[in-house]
C-alpha cells in the first residue's frame, strides 16, 4: 500500500514541475514590458532599466525560472506587483468561493445523477430509461453559458426568485450567500449530471446481471438493500473517477460561470491576472490549480482501494 502511494507520488511530481515550466514560458512570452507597465506614467528609460534590473527581468529565462522555483519550494510564491498581496493570500481569499461553488455544483450533480442512474438501470430498456438517457444526451449539447442564460431568464428575470449576479460573503449574510450560489451551482450541475448518470447507469446495468445480485434476491433481501448496498458499491468505481476528474477540472475555477455571475473566485483571479500581465499571480495560481488537480486525482486513486477491497489487497 505504501509502495502504491509512493509510485503515484513519484509520477505526480514531474507533472507538476512540467506544468510550472509551461506556465513560466507562457507568462514570459506575454507581450508588454512588465517594468514599463508598473511604472506607468512615470516611466523613463532609466527607471525602466533600473526596475528591470531590480526585478531580475534582464536575467536569462532559465535563471529566472530557477529563482522562482527556489522561492516556491520555500513557500514563497511571490507578490503581485499590482495589488501587493502575496499569491498565497490572493488564492486563500478566493478559494472559499470557488470551493463552495464546486462542492455545491458537484453535490447537486450527484443528487440528480445518482437516483436517475439507479432508476434507469433498474428499468433499463423501458420508455423512461430511453427518455432520461436521451435527456442526458441532449443536456451534453447544452454548454454552461447557455444554461446560465436560461436559468437567469427563468429565475431572475421572469420569476425574480434568485439574484442574477452579486455575491455576499457567508459571514455577512449566510442565507444571501447561499442564494447567490444557487444559480451558478445549478448551471454547473447541469453540465455535471449527464456524465455522472451515464457512467453509473452503465456500470449498474452490468452489475445487476452478476450472479451475486441473483444470490441477494435468492436470499430474500429487500430490493432497496440489494440496490443500495449490493449493487451500488461495486458499480461506483467509474463514478468516483469521473467525479474526481470533474472536481479537479473545477478547481481551475469555473471561469465562465464565475464571470457570468460575478463571483470572486479563482477563475476570475486567473483571468484578471492574464489581462493585467500579472505573471507572478498567474504563475502561482496556475501551479496551485494544477497541484489541486493532481492531488484530487491522487485521492481518487486512493478511493479505489477503499471501494474495491480486491485492489486494497493487491489483486484486481
Amino acid at each position: 500500500m505504501a509502495r502504491f502511494i509512493g509510485q503515484r507520488l513519484a509520477y505526480l511530481l514531474p507533472v507538476l514541475l512540467a506544468v510550472s515550466v509551461l506556465t513560466f514560458l507562457i507568462a514570459s512570452l506575454l507581450p508588454g514590458d512588465l517594468a514599463y507597465t508598473i511604472l506607468g506614467d512615470q516611466a523613463t528609460p532609466e527607471k525602466v532599466a533600473a526596475l528591470r534590473a531590480q526585478m531580475g527581468l534582464d536575467l536569462p529565462i532559465w535563471q529566472r525560472y530557477g529563482l522562482w522555483l527556489w522561492d516556491a519550494l520555500h513557500g514563497d510564491l511571490g507578490r503581485s506587483f499590482r495589488t501587493g498581496e502575496t499569491v498565497l493570500n490572493a488564492v486563500l481569499e478566493r478559494l472559499p468561493v470557488s470551493l463552495e461553488l464546486m462542492v455545491m455544483a458537484e453535490l447537486i450533480g450527484l443528487a440528480i445523477g445518482i437516483p436517475l442512474a439507479i432508476l434507469c438501470a433498474v428499468k433499463s430498456g423501458s420508455a423512461i430509461d430511453r427518455f432520461l438517457t436521451g435527456l442526458a444526451f441532449g443536456n451534453l449539447s447544452l454548454p454552461s453559458f447557455l444554461v446560465a442564460i436560461l436559468l437567469i431568464y427563468l429565475f431572475a428575470v421572469q420569476l425574480n426568485w434568485l439574484p442574477a449576479t452579486g455575491w455576499v460573503p457567508f459571514s455577512e449574510d449566510p442565507l444571501g450567500n447561499l442564494r447567490s450560489f444557487v444559480l451558478p451551482a445549478l448551471t454547473l450541475a447541469f453540465a455535471e449530471w449527464p456524465a455522472l448518470m451515464r457512467v453509473l447507469r452503465s456500470d449498474m446495468i452490468a452489475t445487476l446481471q452478476e450472479d451475486f445480485i441473483a444470490m441477494a434476491k435468492a436470499k430474500g433481501l429487500r430490493p432497496a438493500r440489494i440496490l443500495l448496498v449490493h449493487a451500488l458499491k461495486p458499480s461506483s468505481l467509474t463514478l468516483v473517477t469521473v467525479t474526481g476528474i470533474n472536481i479537479g477540472r473545477l478547481i481551475g475555477g469555473a471561469v465562465i460561470v464565475e464571470t457570468i455571475f460575478a463571483l470572486p473566485g479563482i477563475g476570475r483571479l486567473l483571468v484578471g491576472a492574464i489581462y493585467a500581465r500579472d505573471f507572478i499571480i498567474l504563475q502561482g495560481v496556475v501551479l496551485f490549480v494544477a497541484a489541486g488537480f493532481v492531488v484530487v486525482n491522487f485521492i481518487v486513486d486512493m478511493l479505489y482501494a477503499v471501494l474495491d477491497p480486491r485492489i486494497r489487497h493487491g489483486r484486481a
Binding site: 430509461d129 453559458f145 446481471q209
Partner: protein
C-alpha cells in the same frame, strides 16, 4: 448514450425495433448540418441583409417583412447575423479538430505502436497538458497573438490534441495485438507500411467519430470565448458574442439571446448525434468518454 445502443439482458434478446427510430434522429441531425453548412457557405449569395448594417431606428424589432427574424439591439438583421455567425462557428468548429486529429492522431498511433519511452513521454505530456487550465491557455494565447478566427482555431485545435492522442493510442494498443499486425510483421513489412496500410485504416473510423464529437466541443468553446468577449472580435457576428450581447436585453427582448442559443444548441446536438452514432458503429461497448 449511443443512439443505437442495446440495453438490458442482451445475451439472447435484441430489441429490433430500435433501429428505425435511431435512423430518424440521425437523418434529422445530418439534415440540419447540411442546411446550416450550405447557408454558411452560400451566405454571400443568399438574398439576406448585411449582418453589420446598423439601424438605430429599428432596434430590437420583432420579425417583419424586412427583417425575417427581427433585429438586434443595434438594429442589425438577426437572420443575417445568425447565418454569418454560422460561418464563424462552423469554420472554427470544423478546422480546430483537424489540428487535434492530425497531430494527436499521429502522436497517439506512434505511442501505441512503438511503446517504450516514447509512449511514456507522450502520455506524460498529455497529462501535463490536461492539468493545465484550458481557458488560461486560450486567453494567454489570444492575448499574445491577438483575437482572430485563425488564432482561436489554433488554440482550440491545440487544446484538443490530448484527447485525440488518448483515443488514437487506445485504439492502436488494442489493434497491435491482433493477428493481422503480427502477420504483416512476419511477412517482413516495415513499420511505416504497417502503420499506414494496416493500422491507419482501422484507427481512422473511431478517430472520425471522435472528430465529429470534437466539432461539437469546438463550437461550444468558440461560443464560450466569444460570449466572454474574448473570441472573434466585433463587429463580426459569432453566435457566442450574440448571446453575450443579448444577455443585456433578456428582460425586454429575450429572443436576441435565445435565437443564437437555439442555433448553437441544434448544431452542437447534431454533431453529437452523428459522432455518437458513428462511435456506436465502431465500438460496440456502451458509451463512456
Amino acid at each position: 448514450m449511443a443512439v443505437l445502443e442495446i440495453e438490458g439482458d442482451t445475451a439472447l434478446v435484441s430489441p429490433v425495433r430500435k433501429r428505425r427510430r435511431a435512423g430518424g434522429l440521425f437523418l434529422a441531425a445530418v439534415a440540419w448540418i447540411v442546411l446550416i453548412g450550405l447557408a454558411a457557405a452560400l451566405a454571400g449569395v443568399l438574398p439576406i441583409q448585411s449582418p453589420t448594417d446598423l439601424d438605430m431606428l429599428a432596434r430590437r424589432e420583432p420579425p417583419s417583412a424586412e427583417h425575417w427574424l427581427g433585429t438586434d439591439q443595434l438594429g442589425r438583421d438577426m437572420l443575417a447575423r445568425l447565418i454569418y455567425g454560422a460561418r464563424i462557428s462552423l469554420t472554427v468548429g470544423l478546422l480546430a479538430p483537424v489540428i487535434g486529429v492530425s497531430v494527436g492522431g499521429c502522436l497517439g498511433m506512434l505511442a501505441g505502436y512503438f511503446r517504450g519511452r516514447f509512449e511514456t513521454l507522450t502520455v506524460g505530456g498529455v497529462d501535463v497538458l490536461l492539468a493545465f487550465p484550458p481557458l488560461v491557455f486560450a486567453l494567454a494565447v489570444t492575448a499574445y497573438l491577438g483575437q482572430s478566427v485563425l488564432n482561436i482555431t489554433l488554440v482550440i485545435g491545440v487544446l484538443g490534441i490530448p484527447a485525440f492522442t488518448r483515443v488514437a493510442r487506445a485504439v492502436t494498443l488494442s489493434l497491435s495485438e491482433r493477428e493481422f499486425v503480427t502477420a504483416a510483421r512476419a511477412l517482413g513489412a516495415t513499420h511505416a507500411r504497417i502503420l499506414l496500410r494496416e493500422l491507419l485504416p482501422n484507427v481512422a473510423l473511431p478517430l472520425l467519430a471522435f472528430f465529429l464529437l470534437g466539432v461539437a466541443v469546438s463550437i461550444v468553446v468558440e461560443g464560450a470565448l466569444s460570449f466572454l468577449g474574448l473570441g472573434v472580435p466585433p463587429p463580426a457576428p459569432s453566435w457566442g458574442s450574440m448571446i453575450g450581447e443579448g444577455r443585456e436585453s433578456l428582460d425586454i427582448a429575450p429572443w436576441l439571446a435565445f435565437l443564437p442559443a437555439l442555433f448553437m444548441f441544434l448544431s452542437v446536438l447534431a454533431f453529437n448525434i452523428v459522432g455518437d452514432t458513428l462511435r456506436a458503429l465502431t465500438d460496440p461497448r456502451p458509451g463512456t468518454l
